[in-house]
């Protein structure tokens, strides 16, 4: 198979894995926690690289994901025990862990194949070169592809099996607790899944794209449908189109493929923002008299602090 197909496939796998989990994240108002975890796993990844050399096996990857879970725990600890406001809890946690990661990377810069640029936007272009070859010389395709495929399968399995728990604790945690369901269990399971996905995606697409797929794809889908299951499907489709669109954009301007895929996702969002059949801003102007619901807003929600 040609290199471009492998690259697009790998990008799609990352997009779908992150996008599916992101659907839950944005509905739980935890988009930035996802962003934080995707940055916080860096020290775990670096240590995994140090420990296992160039080709990182499953165990070190799981260890790296554990760092992500640690970040989620630390955020909770800062919020509950140290009584620190949520945004500061998130900010302090991920910047500290990311700084540790960069420091370790710099210290061992000779010994590992991970540089600063790679951390931020990965080297998906090199994915087709990282092949699994058996003793007979047969190639089975790129290693990252298989790892990502495995992880995606796990994610899909997690969502199917845990659908009710995830759905309910996202929509109405109070009612869930009243039923005796442990909201903490579902929270940390989701965080663990996000950690694992960010860790395996890091290598190919870096921190940039992971966040984009976690947030932008579900946000776009949310503007296009009112049905959650459909939102999951649309997110996945948008992921594939971002991967395809991004790849060719990168080809034209000779820029980072990860960056291009992010732009593609952003463009899709812009289209949905203005032209979504039910919620698009321009469409609604044309329809006249139908104002999109904005839910309940508080002052804190506006970055510029402006009133409605």
């Amino acid at each position: 198979m040609s290199d471009s197909i492998w690259i697009i496939l790998t990008g799609s796998l990352v997009a779908i894995s992150c996008g599916l989990l992101g659907c839950f994240l944005i509905l739980r108002k935890m988009a930035m926690v996802g962003d934080a975890i995707s940055h916080a796993v860096l020290p775990g990844i670096v240590i995994a690289y140090l420990v296992s050399g160039d080709r990182v096996g499953i165990l070190p990857l799981v260890g790296a994901a554990a760092v992500g879970l640690f970040a989620a725990v630390m955020i909770e600890w800062l919020y509950r025990k140290a009584r620190l406001q949520t945004d500061a809890s998130i900010g302090i946690t991920f910047t500290w862990l990311f700084a540790i990661g960069v420091i370790i990377t710099s210290y061992f810069s000779g010994k590992i194949d991970l540089d600063q640029e790679c951390i931020l936007y990965g080297e998906i272009a090199y994915v087709p070169l990282d092949l699994i070859i058996d003793s007979a010389g047969n190639s089975f395709g790129p290693r990252p592809f298989w790892i990502l495929l495995t992880v995606l399968t796990l994610i899909v399995g997690f969502i199917i099996v845990g659908y009710r728990g995830l759905f309910l604790t996202t929509f109405d945690p109070g009612f869930a607790a009243a039923l005796g369901i442990s909201t903490a269990f579902w929270h940390y399971s989701l965080m663990g899944a996000v950690s694992l996905t960010t860790v395996v995606s890091f290598e190919s697409v870096g921190a940039v794209l992971v966040v984009a797929f976690l947030v932008v794809l579900p946000a776009t889908a949310y503007l296009l449908t009112d049905d959650f299951k459909r939102m999951l499907v649309i997110t996945s489709i948008l992921g594939v189109t971002s991967a395809i669109g991004g790849y060719y954009l990168a080809l034209i301007f000779d820029g980072s493929i990860a960056g291009a895929m992010t732009i593609a996702a952003g463009v899709q969002f812009a289209f949905a923002l203005f032209f979504s059949p039910s919620k698009g801003i321009l469409i609604n102007r044309i329809k006249a008299g139908d104002i999109p619901s904005t839910g309940s807003l508080s002052r804190q929600d506006f970055p510029l602090g402006n009133k409605q």
Partner: protein, 425 residues
């Protein structure tokens, strides 16, 4: 260390990082109060495309041009976030993450495109990504100094309105303040701080420069001016530390080490700050528990003596255990503590109340029974339901509150169970 001070380059880097860190820390206090740490994070990521566009247009890496591009891009990102929240059902966190990643992705794409185009003058543009303090030049320091001065002056001049708008926006609006103007200023100051700050610590870590010093300062005081001073101090120290480490160990990057020191200061503050720190709160809790134990012991002495009014005869641990279910270990501990304070005196294999101890035991029982009366008379609880509440509250009531209670209830002499309320021994 002597080499450090002899190296003019090191001095420049030190000055530069200290100035921009302190500037960011001061602005960051308002970011912290308005709970906008993550918006600051998004702005930091969003300036990158602005820098690239500025480079493409001006054809140079002149820091003034680049910062201008950064400021414009930063402002646009704020407007876009606001727009999304207002016009769609997407929430604030989604808008923040979205703008952060898309703008940054655009920036990365442009940057890599420029890099691959073989444009010779573009090398070093990526210093905005990770911060490259080591490449700071004298000219940069002047710009940082200027920025820091502007930020400081604006903070001093507009301190009162900034504080009001951050703490209580609705009130500020209701008294007719031009809130939009002050928020515009604050946003601009944030974007300025970000545009200079990322040159030392890079895009990802910029949020820490804004939020961590203020968060750390918060644990030491609740007075804003002191919090700002502390945050600036912490930022300055961390900048110094980070610069020194990167000088002493050349492979080490400055930015992450600044954040490292800041984070350590923050976590330390969270732990050891008096009153608000975790250690202090735990100590207070243990002191409360000890107080409760000791007062319960004195109460038990009273109960043992109230039938025959022989309060001061010695009692053994066994006597005490028959009245109240202490654990043996905590009873021993409590008895020893009360002896040390002087409320109890050892007598054979028992203890007896001293004069002070007697007065104390009277006080506790009095408070207990007064509170029972209050629960009974004012909250209309039945006499057999007031005991447990009184068991807890008797330890909280201060002498002032005690007087209030007595007046409120008309100086009662009996509690709801018809037991005497002891006033004087």
């Amino acid at each position: 260390m002597s080499n450090f001070w002899n190296d003019p380059n090191a001095i420049i880097v030190l000055l530069g990082t200290v100035l921009l860190s302190m500037g960011a820390a001061v602005v960051g206090n308002f970011t912290f109060l308005r709970k906008r740490a993550l918006v600051g994070d998004a702005v930091a990521h969003s300036v990158l495309p602005g820098i690239c566009v500025a480079f493409l247009i001006s054809g140079s890496k002149d820091p003034i041009w680049l910062m201008l591009g950064a400021v414009i891009a930063g402002w646009i990102s704020l407007l876009v976030m606001d727009f999304i929240i207002r016009k769609t059902r997407l929430k604030a966190d989604t808008a923040t993450g979205l703008v952060l990643s898309v703008f940054f992705g655009l920036g990365i794409f442009m940057l890599t495109s420029i890099q691959h185009s073989g444009n010779a003058s573009q090398t070093g543009l990526d210093k905005f990504l990770f911060g490259n303090a080591a490449s700071m030049m004298e000219r940069d320091v002047y710009i940082f100094a200027g920025t820091a001065v502007i930020l400081l002056i604006l903070t001093l001049v507009f301190y009162r309105p900034f504080r009001l708008v951050s703490f209580n926006r609705e009130f500020a609006e209701s008294i007719g303040m031009p809130v939009w103007f002050y928020e515009f200023l604050l946003s601009t100051m944030t974007v300025l701080a970000v545009a200079s700050g990322i040159q030392a610590v890079g895009v990802v870590l910029m949020a820490a420069l804004l939020i961590t010093p203020a968060a750390a300062g918060r644990y030491w005081t609740d007075k804003l001016p002191i919090m700002m001073l502390l945050s600036a101090l912490f930022a300055g120290i961390s900048a110094w530390g980070g610069t020194w480490v990167s000088f002493a160990v050349p492979s080490m990057p400055t930015g992450p080490w600044i954040i490292m020191f800041l984070s350590i200061i923050a976590i330390t503050s969270i732990l050891i700050a008096p009153q608000r720190g975790i250690v202090a709160r735990n100590r207070l809790r243990r002191r409360n528990e000890s107080k409760i134990l000791r007062e319960n012991i004195l109460k038990t002495f009273y109960y043992l003596g109230q039938a025959n009014r022989d309060f001061k005869i010695p009692r053994t641990a066994q006597d005490l255990l028959e009245i109240r279910g202490f654990s043996v270990k905590e009873l021993q501990l409590g008895l020893r503590l009360e002896s040390k304070i002087g409320n109890l005196v050892r007598n054979g294999n028992g203890w007896a109340l001293s004069d002070e101890g007697l007065a104390e035991s009277f006080r506790i029982v009095r408070l207990h029974r007064l509170w029972e009366m209050y629960l009974n008379k004012r909250l209309h609880l039945k006499p057999d339901h007031v005991h447990q509440g009184a068991e807890a509250i008797e330890h909280v009531i201060t002498p002032e509150l005690e007087k209030l209670l007595e007046e409120e209830l008309g100086h009662p002499t009996l509690d709801p169970h018809q037991s005497e309320i002891p006033y004087l021994p």
